[in-house]
C-alpha cells in the first residue's frame, strides 16, 4: 500500500497534490505524534520534571503542531504561499498573546479586588 502511494505517478494531473506523501509517511508521523503525546503526559506526571515542565511541554507542542502542519496539512510539499498565509497570522497571534500577557501582568500590580 505504501509503495503504491509513495509512487506519485498516478496523481500526475494535479500540481497541488502531486508530491503528497503516501500512507507510509502518514503512519510514521502518527507514530511520532503518539510518542510525543505520551512524552507530554509522562512529563506531566513525573514530579522531578516539574521545574522544566513549561519549556519541555512548549517544545513538544510546537513540534507536534509543526508535524501536523507540515505533513498532514501538506505545507511541506505544497506551495510556499500556503505556508506564508498560515505562518504570518500565527506570528501575529503570538504577538497578541504575549502582548496581552505582558500588559495584564503589569495590571496585576495595580489591581484591587476589594471594592472600597
Amino acid at each position: 500500500m505504501s509503495d503504491h502511494a509513495l509512487n506519485p505517478a498516478h496523481a500526475g494531473h494535479d500540481v497541488s497534490h502531486e508530491d503528497h506523501p503516501g500512507p507510509g509517511l502518514y503512519l510514521l508521523i502518527a507514530a511520532i505524534l503518539t510518542v510525543l503525546t505520551a512524552a507530554e503526559i509522562t512529563v506531566f506526571y513525573v514530579p522531578g520534571l516539574q521545574p522544566v515542565l513549561v519549556p519541555i511541554l512548549l517544545v513538544l507542542a510546537i513540534v507536534k503542531f509543526a508535524f501536523v502542519g507540515m505533513f498532514y496539512m501538506h505545507l511541506y510539499y505544497d506551495s510556499k504561499v500556503f505556508t506564508t498565509l498560515f505562518v504570518f497570522p500565527l506570528l501575529l497571534a503570538l504577538l497578541i498573546v504575549f502582548g496581552l500577557l505582558l500588559l495584564f501582568s503589569h495590571l496585576q500590580g495595580v489591581l484591587s479586588f476589594v471594592v472600597p
Binding site: 495590571l107 495595580v110 484591587s112 471594592v115
Partner: protein, 347 residues
C-alpha cells in the same frame, strides 16, 4: 438687546479661543477647562510637550501645504497646455529624504515624550503627600481624605505647593477623572486603582468633569477643585472635621426631622445624624451632606448651590439630571422649604 450682547460674547469668546489656540494658552479669558494649563507641575510638563509637538506639527503642515501650493499653482500646467508632462516616476534621493526627515522630527518628539511619561507617572511619592481617594459614581464624584476623616462630594479642596496623591476608585463603571487646569485625566476603572500625583502651583477654583462616557448623565458628572493656600486648607479641614451645625431656625429644625424620617438618610450621611448603611446598600449611595451648605455647587456640580436650585433638585431629580439615582420623594410646600433650609444650614 440680550441676544446682541450674547452674540458679542459668542464672537468675543470665539476670537479669543482662536487667539488662545494661536498663542498656546497665553490668553486670559473665561475658559475654565482650557488644556494649555499651568496649574501644577504635571500640567506644566504636559503643556510644554503639547507646545513642542504643536510647533513641529505646524511646521510639517506648513511644508506640505507650501509644496502642494507650489505643485498646483507653479510647477504644473493646465489642461490644454501643449507640453506633455515629464514621466517622472521615482527619485531615490527625494524618497530617502522624505523618509528620513520625518523620522528625525519624530525623534525630537519621542524623546521628550518618553521623558515626560517617566516624570508624570512616578511609582513613589513622599510620605507627607496628601492622599485624596476619588470615588466615581454614576453620576457624581466623592472625595475622601483617609488621613483627615473628611468625606465630601462634588467639591474637592487641596493645598497649594504640596504633593497631592489622587487614588481613583470606581464603584460601578469606567469614568475618567479630569481637571484640565491641573493636568491630564486618568480613567477611573472598577477593580483597579489608578493614580495621579501632582503639586498644584496656583490657588483658585478649577473645573473638572468626567471624560469617559458613562451612561445617561455622563454630561452631568462634573466637579470643582479648589486649591487653597496652606492656611486656607487648614481652616477648611477644621471646618469639615467639625460635627454638623445644629439647626437654629424653626424651619431648619423641622427640616432635620424630615431628613431623618424621609428616605434621604438611607443614602446620605450627615455625621451624627444619619449614616450610609450597608444594610440598605443598593449598590449606590449619595454624597456626604455633613457640610453641604459650605459647597458651591450641587447634583454633580451642575447647579450653583442655592435654596432655589436645591428645591428644584429635590423636587424632581430625574427631570434636571436624567437617570439620577435620587428618587422623587413628593415633598412640596413647607416640607420642601424646611428640608432645603436645613440642608443649606449645614455650613
Amino acid at each position: 438687546m440680550r441676544s446682541v450682547s450674547r452674540l458679542n460674547k459668542f464672537v468675543g469668546s470665539g476670537l479669543l479661543a482662536a487667539m488662545v489656540f494661536a498663542f498656546f494658552g497665553c490668553g486670559n479669558f473665561n475658559a475654565p477647562m482650557q488644556t494649555f494649563a499651568s496649574g501644577s507641575d504635571l500640567a506644566k510638563w504636559i503643556t510644554s510637550l503639547y507646545i513642542q509637538i504643536t510647533i513641529w506639527d505646524s511646521i510639517v503642515l506648513a511644508i506640505v501645504l507650501i509644496v502642494l501650493a507650489l505643485a498646483i499653482f507653479v510647477f504644473s500646467t493646465r489642461e490644454g497646455d501643449p507640453t506633455e508632462p515629464h514621466e517622472h516616476e521615482s527619485d531615490l534621493m527625494l524618497e530617502l529624504a522624505w523618509t528620513i526627515a520625518p523620522a528625525l522630527i519624530l525623534m525630537f518628539i519621542t524623546i521628550p515624550t518618553v521623558r515626560t511619561i517617566m516624570r508624570t507617572q512616578p511609582s513613589k511619592w513622599p510620605a507627607n503627600a496628601i492622599t485624596v481617594q476619588v470615588h466615581a459614581h454614576q453620576w457624581w464624584w466623592e472625595f475622601d481624605y483617609p488621613g483627615l476623616h473628611i468625606a465630601t462630594g462634588d467639591e474637592v479642596h487641596i493645598p497649594i505647593n504640596r504633593v497631592i496623591h489622587f487614588e481613583l476608585y470606581s464603584d460601578d463603571i469606567i469614568h475618567s477623572f479630569w481637571i484640565p487646569a491641573l493636568g491630564g485625566k486618568r480613567d477611573v476603572i472598577p477593580g483597579q486603582v489608578n493614580q495621579i500625583t501632582l503639586i498644584p502651583s496656583v490657588t483658585g477654583e478649577f473645573y473638572g468633569q468626567c471624560a469617559e462616557f458613562c451612561g445617561l448623565s455622563h454630561a452631568n458628572m462634573r466637579f470643582r477643585m479648589v486649591v487653597d493656600t496652606a492656611d486656607g486648607f487648614k481652616q477648611w479641614v477644621a471646618a469639615q472635621q467639625a460635627p454638623p451645625v445644629e439647626p437654629q431656625e424653626a424651619a431648619a429644625k423641622n427640616g432635620e426631622k424630615i431628613f431623618k424620617n424621609a428616605p434621604c438618610a438611607i443614602c446620605h450621611t450627615v455625621r451624627g445624624i444619619s449614616g450610609f448603611s450597608k444594610q440598605y446598600d443598593y449598590g449606590f449611595r449619595g454624597p456626604d451632606l455633613t457640610h453641604f451648605g459650605s459647597r458651591g455647587t450641587l447634583a454633580g456640580s451642575i447647579f450653583d448651590n442655592n435654596p432655589k436650585n436645591l428645591a428644584m433638585w429635590i423636587q424632581d431629580p430625574e427631570k434636571v439630571k436624567p437617570g439620577a439615582r435620587m428618587p422623587t420623594l413628593g415633598l412640596r410646600g413647607t416640607d420642601l422649604h424646611d428640608l432645603v433650609a436645613y440642608l443649606e444650614s449645614l455650613k
